[in-house]
Amino acid sequence: MTDTANRILWIAVGLLLTIVGAIGIATWFGRFPFLSPNDVVLDSSLVELWHRFDPWNLIVAGCLGAVLIWFGLWLFTRQFRRRGSASMADLTVHGDQRAREDTDKFDGHTTVRARGLVHALERDLTSARQIAKASVTLTGTAPQPNAWLRLDLARDASLSEVRDHVGEALTRFATTSDIRPATVDITVRPSNSQPVRVR
């Protein structure tokens, strides 16, 4: 779940709490048209409704509980996906038809771990002097996933040089793996390290 999604969720929660609280205050002062200060919080009509639908009322309560469990789990697990979607799955390449005709027994497939692809791109990115560290995340589905790159720059590295190198690394990555990211989001972290003193 992205930061924006979390912010929207909490705006909704804040708005809901404010409305409920304001209705309670307005009712206490007798200014809310649909409720009076003499009305009880749990009205007898609600209790009658509950008993009238017995035993379906318990089934409805159970379904409501299931929805709460599902939403709670969904909200909890989504907090570990900062990019909003799941990481790219491993690649599976099946043997092509021509290879099968050449050798009768060939009917295999090759699995390329997504982690391996990510590490390869990270290593290629850090091969340039200007990039001290690179962290890559691929989300979505191959062959056009979304790429998220975080680059820690070396001291005095200029962004124009870095940009050229990143472009070349992505081209090499596409040639080798056949993966061409649909979107590339790059975050650069400039260095603040002190220059090395030479005696």
């Binding site: 930061d3 709490l17 009880v40 919080v41 209790v47 509980g65 709670g72 979107t183 972290r189 603040n192």
Partner: protein, 171 residues
């Protein structure tokens, strides 16, 4: 605030999960004519059925809920400092604000005669610099800030505001 929101959402997720599980467990207990597991149904029902909206406890609860709601809204709606700054002509390229500020501060503190530098960058690439230095160092400070941010492809409309304060002499 972003980390706080994430943690709060994690807690909300756990609370909703527990509430759902408890609701199902209580419904099953009621169906099997068993005593309640955690929520005393009769006491809960009687207290709500015997409390009116004019009750002062309801009023206190309504005020507390409103205060929490307004506080949450205020925290979420106030402008947040951006985590990243866009590098305008290049689609998809961003600079992490905090690191950019630190690199400028580091470059300024390396200058002789300049110390205690502080920088604030906003999302429109407006830079505020405060440092302890003589006013004659103004141009040098401006040049350093400019050079440092140009390395990060800061846009041409970048604005730099510099405030220099003299260091107090220790007598």
């Amino acid at each position: 605030m972003r980390t706080f929101n994430r943690l709060a959402s994690l807690v909300l997720g756990i609370v909703l999960f527990v509430a759902g599980a408890l609701l199902i467990a209580e419904a099953v207990a009621l169906l099997l004519h068993r005593p309640p597991l955690l929520v005393p149904r009769d006491r809960w029902y009687q207290s709500l059925a015997g409390t009116s909206f004019g009750d002062r406890f309801v009023f206190a609860a309504a005020i507390a809920i409103t205060v929490v709601g307004v506080l949450v809204l205020a925290l979420q709606l106030r402008p947040w400092r951006p985590v990243r700054l866009k590098v305008p002509p290049y689609e998809g390229w961003h600079v992490q604000r905090h690191y950019a500020e630190r690199s400028v501060v580091s470059a300024l503190n390396r200058l002789s005669g300049v110390s205690k530098a502080k920088t604030r960058l906003n999302k429109r690439w407006r830079v505020r610099v405060r440092a302890a230095a003589h006013s004659t160092e103004h141009d040098l400070v401006a040049q350093t800030v400019n050079d440092q941010l140009r390395q990060l492809d800061a846009p041409d409309h970048m604005q730099v505001k510099i405030r220099l304060a003299r260091l107090r002499r220790v007598v």
